[in-house]
């Protein structure tokens, strides 16, 4: 792990320590407590789930080193972003939600030849942005630390599963399948951009 990544993790840890103690409410109520609420929230939010899947596909296509870094830094970024978003109102337009879909999907579709540090920074930035948007959304005041931890746990499970599935496949068709999945996510992002910019 590079010095920049270590600094990112340290920053994430500090921000977690500054998280609010209680959640004001929950977007999804599983009846199993805030950890499962957070976990379920991520899995039921395609605008947050799909970019994470695309990043995991990209990391898997690039190799195990990329996968390991994404595994740690995506949830860490999510927690850092969530911590900031819990106290910082963010009123970004709906079109902003399309950009992570488009960008990560296109990178996976192109099997972009990123260096490990670039994948790590991308994972950190994506996690932070998704966490920030999720917990700062005006209609989703759910950002208690347990809920954020649940969502981060979902990411921590998701990334290795998807990345390992790709890394372990050496057949050309399997790698193409991962790229096709990335192109589908990019296509969804492009359409989502259109929906959000559609004139009324």
């Amino acid at each position: 792990m590079t010095a920049a990544e270590r600094r990112g993790l340290l920053l994430a840890g500090l921000l977690i320590a500054a998280l609010p103690a209680r959640a004001a409410g929950h977007l999804v109520s599983t009846g199993l407590g805030p950890v499962y609420d957070g976990l379920t929230h991520l899995l039921l939010s395609p605008e947050e789930l799909l970019p994470a899947v695309a990043l995991a596909l990209l990391a898997g296509l690039r190799g195990a080193v990329h996968g390991r870094r994404a595994l740690l830094l995506l949830p860490a970024g999510w927690l850092a972003g969530g911590a900031i978003g819990a106290s910082l109102p963010l009123d970004a337009g709906p079109w902003v939600a399309a950009l992570p879909l488009l960008a990560t999907g296109a990178l996976a579709a192109a099997d972009a030849p990123l260096r490990p540090v670039a994948t790590a920074l991308l994972a950190l930035a994506l996690g932070a942005w998704l966490g920030l948007r999720s917990s700062a959304a005006a209609d989703a005041p759910w950002a208690g630390w347990l809920a954020l931890a649940g969502a981060a746990a979902a990411l921590f499970m998701l990334v290795p599963i998807v990345a390992a599935l790709v890394v372990s496949r050496r057949a050309a068709w399997a790698r193409v399948a991962a790229r096709v999945a990335g192109s589908w996510i990019a296509a969804v992002g492009l359409l989502q951009l259109g929906w959000s910019l559609r004139p009324d």
């Binding site: 977007l27 599983t30 939010s45 192109s183 589908w184 990019a186 296509a187 969804v188 989502q192 259109g194």
Partner: protein, 193 residues
């Protein structure tokens, strides 16, 4: 046991959670999944794309399903932004005619030309079908369903195209291309009259 219960509980929560995630999410997904497979003009063209790709072999068979969804989404985005595209219905019908003919004649143009032809038709299909959302449905989940269903049609076309590896299969595949071209001709007739 506890984990199983938690998973089952979380799965059961999905139905109640969906309305919180945006009204019409499930309806949008279902609509997006069904829309491509209920439009005959879209179905035959997407199958032809897959079959032609299989006939052309690598790298076309792989390049095509990677690029097609994004180009199609670009067409859909043009429609969503209110940008008109003249002759959309004619373009869609022509895609059936030309792509069916490519399969029928086992045409092998240079890869950039094949990709440009398919890409051009992808814009027409995306423009016509990518933005047909009923009021109250989620655009995001509609898009997910629409892209996934179109991709599934490509995959079906590629699977059918694998018949190309057998001598009898080649004949069957070319006959299927002829049928697609014929269907496209009917669509074209309807579009221009």
């Amino acid at each position: 046991m506890t984990a199983s219960f938690a998973l089952a509980r979380a799965a059961a929560a999905a139905a109640t959670a969906l309305p919180h995630e945006g009204h019409g999410a499930a309806e949008g997904l279902l609509s997006g999944l069904l829309h491509p497979v209920t439009g005959a003009d879209h179905v035959v063209a997407m199958l032809a794309v897959g079959m032609w790709g299989a006939q052309l072999g690598a790298p076309a068979v792989w390049l095509l399903p990677v690029t097609f969804p994004m180009v199609m989404a670009a067409g859909g985005t043009l429609a969503l932004l209110g940008m008109p595209l003249p002759g959309v219905e004619v373009g869609i019908a022509a895609s059936g005619v030309l792509l069916g003919a490519m399969v029928l004649f086992e045409a092998r143009p240079p890869l950039p030309l094949a990709a440009a032809l398919v890409g051009l038709f992808a814009i027409f299909h995306g423009h016509a079908h990518g933005a047909e959302l009923a009021p109250g449905e989620s655009g995001l989940t509609y898009s997910i369903g629409f892209v996934a269903a179109t991709g599934a049609l490509h995959a079906a076309g590629i699977a059918l195209g694998l018949l190309h590896r057998r001598p009898a299969g080649r004949v069957v595949l070319r006959a299927a291309g002829a049928l697609i071209a014929l269907a496209g001709s009917l669509f074209l007739w309807r579009a221009v009259t």
